[in-house]
Assembly symmetry: C2
Homo-oligomer: 465 residues x 2
């Protein structure tokens, strides 16, 4: 059944011919596919897609996976170092990165810069130059965050001594992890790795994390689903706009932090970063989606992630397999002095928010975000409406005031993406292609269709008798 | 010219016959008017309104008053006790209340209860019963907040030892004051006056105010216009929904408060009250509108306020004169167990927010408020659009994302209210009619037309040669 959708060549229209090389080292399960939208495709391909769309086994599996996602209750339960949280980082020279698997030599500038910085941060190398050589020699294992129940924005770098948010889905018991948000400007996740960056990372490890850990012990676990729901009523979409959610989190923690010796500097740091909640939003989404994993036959998308070269997705019914394609370009607003020629390709695990039905899917809740990512408030509403057509449900936990409190489209069905040729919308930051420059803009992009076609083909294989 | 708009009786349709008694003791300049909407009115009245609408002196005056309102820059500069801030409260047995002037015997239950509580709080009486007797005897002077550059929500009680926010319009130098928000439940502003209420008021005076004062010295003055603007992009309308603004204020103050001995309990108090910013929103609006006062010939509305019996307005061109009418009913959502028969009449100075172009005028920014005040997000948008038709400008400082960032209608022109028969929309809390019960709901009401007719008649008098 791996020939599903093989049709007489429309390769260039999907850009599929261009990513074979990029993917060669990536270890993904990418099929060499040729695809047209159903309306233009040949009869055989359409018939095969129709079979999947009408397959009662997929319907049943999707309902189960969807219900597990809907039932998930992510709670922030504490903070651990990455080596405590993730066994594979304990005593190992291993660093995690965003997106699907990718070899060092194929990585984009910001990801290489971030990994080199993390190697210095861990004390495995004396400086960035030495760290870069180590990484190039393969002296440090590099693996996706998603292989370890973790996510990270942009470069997504997680090294053993970094502190991680620990989020527990109390319904099903699974944990999810995310690193801490450093703020804007020169930061590791955009590939900066100078002294300023490493000094901040040390402060985050030595001051911020212990203080937040103590504060959390005082406040108790924080339910993240109601907090996200509240932020959606306050103009956030909890991917590129987290001003309200960051404020709600600060409000929850401020009294406890005020009782801690270094609470004042910690509050100052959090108050200065409107994106502080992003990493918790991501961990919450990861926890909810991991609850929907591994339901045989389900076409529900459990992961969308980008490594700066390729975009990868996973489906519930195909477990840990990645389906990849080159990332689509980002249509965005650039900071003064920068343009599209400076931009790295779409990067980061933060598309886990869209996978969970917020971010670009909840843009209708966040009209003011268009000042950051471009477009108009009407576009934001249109995006949310479009996403309702490729998802399995409107999540009653995430309601959108501008749509009269309809739930945000949640639980992407890979079949509907392919059938309707409506691509998942992603709000994203734009990194400079060179390490260390940082963020140069923000905008809107889409998940490439080829991932979903490949995923469906693999899912169909699992269903063959 | 006091006969302007006298037409052959349609009194009952405007309810004007019912408020003569109520107003007898109120000291206002209310005309006994008979009025029909222009489309149904007689030719003489329409002709006279048309004269005002086309009067170039009013146009010019309104542009001046509007510009002064638009230019105002309200900043929170500190905290003072009411006796420090307001000379008339220094060493005097005087208490301020919301709305236009009203005698003790005519006040509604919540206002009497709040004043009695304040008398005990000041130590002028041993208990509420004795305080009530004092007030009834006239042993305590009672005056509107608005007569002293001040505002207060609901009963609006300001007594000498209460702390006040001090807001300065740095453009024109005028000050505005507002008391502190106590939170929800049993609170003085809803007429509750038991031990719990007085104990909290003492804590606010002795702990909250000094801590906030010290924190403000550390942070420096806080510009309130950008803060309100930001909150409007985060789902607030800054009258009945202040969740974002309260969070933004807390974020500004939290680091400084964390460095103060009693900062932790102060942060806990603020974090528990999503309405905490309301009183600052009101002071900011008062400061902006006072900048537009006393422009001869201007029909710009500088005050809308309610004393629980009557609704009063002031116009720029008629200075401190009140034009009053019985308050319109509130169309709202009641808390479980309560209904319209339990409700006090519309109450409080908080309509200063609508007068300044936020609150009900900015409802399009706050779709989620309909869960509190009723209606749908589409209604919220309609209200904001309607208010643009009775205002002199769309304030570029207060933009509404859902209206593609159009400015909120600001600077109510009494002429347009009368001509178009579109009444200013006000989001409001609903108090129980008996002292001490507290808030029983929230909803939407309108300013009564008769106030605007009376105001225009008086304005016309000032223009006669």
């Amino acid at each position: 059944m791996t020939t599903l959708f093989h049709t007489p060549l429309q390769v260039i229209s999907l850009g599929l011919s261009s990513f074979a090389d990029n993917l060669r080292h990536a270890g993904g399960d990418v099929l060499h596919l040729n695809w047209q939208p159903p309306a233009q495709g040949d009869a055989a391909a359409n018939w095969q897609l129709a079979q999947l769309i009408n397959d009662p086994r997929i319907e049943a599996a999707n309902q189960q996976a969807l219900q597990q996602y809907l039932d998930a209750q992510p709670e922030l339960i504490g903070i651990l170092s990455a080596s405590q949280a993730i066994g594979a980082l304990n005593g190992q020279r291993r660093i995690l990165h965003a997106g699907p698997p990718i070899a060092w030599r194929d990585m984009c500038g910001p990801m290489q810069g971030a990994i080199a910085g993390a190697i210095v941060f861990e004390g495995w190398a004396a400086d960035v130059s030495q760290a870069t050589e180590m990484a190039a020699r393969g002296d440090v294992a590099l693996e996706p965050c998603h292989h370890h129940q973790a996510v990270g924005p942009m470069a997504g770098t997680i090294s053993p001594s970094m502190p991680l948010w620990v989020v527990k889905n109390t319904t099903h018991g699974n944990l999810a992890f995310c690193n801490f948000n450093e703020g804007l400007g020169k930061v590791l996740r955009f590939g900066a790795n100078g002294d300023e960056v490493l000094t901040r990372l040390r402060w985050m490890r030595d001051v911020l994390a212990p203080a937040l850990s103590r504060a959390l012990q005082a406040t108790g676990a924080i339910e993240l689903k109601p907090l996200i729901a509240q932020a959606l009523h306050m103009g956030d979409e909890c991917h590129n706009r987290n001003a309200a959610a960051s404020g709600l989190l600060l409000k929850r923690l401020a009294p406890a932090l005020a009782g801690i010796a270094q609470g004042q500097e910690v509050l100052t740091f959090i108050a200065a970063n409107d994106h502080f909640f992003l990493n918790l939003s991501m961990a919450a989404c990861k926890a909810m989606l991991d609850a929907a994993r591994n339901v045989p036959g389900s076409s529900l998308v459990t992961v969308m992630a980008r490594n700066g070269v390729n975009f990868g997705i996973q489906l519930s019914g195909t477990g840990d397999r990645w389906f990849q394609a080159p990332a689509n370009p980002v249509d965005g607003l650039f900071f003064p002095g920068y343009g599209v020629e400076d931009a790295a390709a779409d990067l980061g695990d933060s598309a886990i928010t869209e996978t969970a039905g917020i971010g670009g899917f909840a843009m209708a809740a966040s009209p003011a975000i268009v000042k950051f990512v471009g477009g108009s408030p009407a576009d934001a509403v249109r995006h949310s409406l479009a996403m309702q057509t490729i998802t399995l449900a409107q999540n009653p936990a995430f309601t959108l005031p501008a749509l009269n409190f309809a739930g945000s489209g949640s639980g992407i069905d890979a079949r509907r993406v392919v059938d309707r040729h409506i691509l998942p919308v992603i709000n994203t930051g734009i990194a400079h292609k060179q390490a260390g420059v940082g963020q140069i803009g923000a905008g809107i992009t889409t998940a490439p269709l080829a991932c979903f076609i490949a995923g469906l083909a693999a899912l169909a294989d699992t269903l063959e008798n």
